[in-house]
Symmetry: C2
Subunit: 288 residues, 2 copies
């Protein structure tokens, strides 16, 4: 059994790296840092890795919109697994630095935004410096004793930083959802490669657009799922670029695409769609 | 008639500033730069401005998710107008700098991501430097003759930069959608304050969550709109923080909340909701 190769949005210390490292330490596999989500997709397409980790919901680093757009654009891709990472922001600094010494806070704009309540209350005088990842922020924070970084607890391990405060994210969304994408013709039938699926409830993701955009068309599509009592776990409309003002629907459904009821509902929805694509049917791993 | 005050995500030269400046040059009003979306909302809540501009779709600077979460959190806010800004990315540099001189490209991570195809084709050797706004990038680009910035054409005016290339965004989404939010008790009944509404088709935005999450419940809700032939222009589910795994739906409908059919449909949806809020009913301004 060969180890699979996984591309992720680097550098080490990002939330993406935290998710893929935890996953690989459980199921095996080698990780490869990419500079951007676009690079992850290209690396998969060029067969330089087996799978890539893409953020699909509440991402702190890397645009969810870009992931959705690239999945739409690259019809050779398929989703093989969902990975859910609980979000916890930590205030970290070089050893010996105290909270009252901090004059500058380094982090990714999204992590700063999510920690805004904490910063306003406790560090309102500090200057904010934006970086392209929380990992890049940690490298900066190490250099001076008046700097702190906001990021995952993993940064503390990698960069040998002290924890000054935890759970800065307050009441904001508490998990990032990623997916493992690979070419649709890949065969990961050795279940061990992608972890144990037996205990996990499957999700099925589709992208579809109605043949004609008119009032009630989404209601009719969802009616096919309602008839079979299939639960939606997420829905989002995104504008198509081809036809201005027309929409694609990204829909996640509870259940496996091997379930006869789901197959039947998907066939009905495909029949009323101008564009339809099964992105994949996959189990979930929650990182503890 | 007094001039209204508008908060936006600064500094000058961001896409937010481009949108609000174009709006105010047509309808009057003073603009106030804020450091973050959170600051915009606080400034509105504290009555320091009349309205604030929040990104709601395809935002390049500032998180759409954060806007949605803050609108949900601050029930005293209401939406008064939609502003749509076409996106066009330009490659800009200090006067005299040529494309072949460029060793570093400065911009906001989202603008870099949206221009990825162009960068890969034409500037693959350049080092990418991330900034918290395209405006901050422009200030950096001015300092050396081996630097360029990616951002709006407005940066060229503000920072006296030359245009080296245009429409870097390729086939990616072609507009950012903002909303003007203000306290719900504000009276902007002098129509001139917020522009001419007569010619614009209204949209109505709601946030709702079903009483009980079960298969088919979204289908039932949307059925009320389908019955009245009311078209949805956008739908997105977002996790609620209060109850893990449960969802809020953000729905935009075509039509005014003064339309009897829409009122009736909204009443039915509210009756089947555990949480329901009318975010507002508003006209649209498209920036040319």
């Amino acid at each position: 059994m060969k180890n699979l190769d996984y591309a992720y949005l680097g550098p080490p210390g990002t939330f993406s790296e935290q998710a893929i490292s935890a996953y690989c330490s459980k199921y095996g596999g080698k990780t490869h840092a990419c500079d951007s989500i676009r690079d992850i997709v290209e690396t998969i397409v060029k067969d330089e890795v087996d799978l890539g980790l893409l953020p699909l919901e509440n991402s702190l680093e890397g645009s969810v919109n870009l992931s959705l757009d690239l999945l739409y654009k690259h019809s050779e891709l398929k989703l093989y697994r969902e990975i859910v990472l609980p979000i916890a922001h930590y205030l970290l600094a070089a050893p010996g630095v105290k909270k009252e010494d901090i004059k500058k806070i380094y982090s990714h704009p999204q992590a700063i935004a999510q920690s805004g309540d904490y910063i306003n209350r406790h560090l309102s005088e500090a200057k904010i410096v934006y970086t392209d990842s929380t990992a890049a922020a940690a490298a900066e924070a190490l250099k001076h004793d008046d700097r702190a970084v906001i990021g995952s607890i993993r940064l503390a391990d990698i960069y040998q930083l002290d924890v000054l405060a935890e759970n800065l994210q307050g009441d904001l969304p508490n998990a990032t959802r990623f997916v493992l994408a690979a070419k649709a013709d890949k065969d990961f039938s050795d279940k061990n490669h992608l972890g144990n699926n037996a205990e996990s409830q499957f999700k099925t993701s589709i992208i579809c657009a109605p043949e004609v955009n008119r009032a009630g068309v989404l209601h009719e599509m969802l009616g096919e799922f309602a008839k079979k009592e299939i639960d939606l776990s997420r829905i989002e409309s995104r504008p198509t670029r081809q036809r201005l003002g027309e929409y694609l629907f990204y829909i996640d459904l509870m259940g496996s695409s091997e379930d006869p009821d789901l197959i039947e509902a998907l066939n009905e929805v495909e029949a009323m769609s101008g564009y339809f694509r099964l992105l994949g049917s996959y189990p979930k791993t929650v990182i503890k």
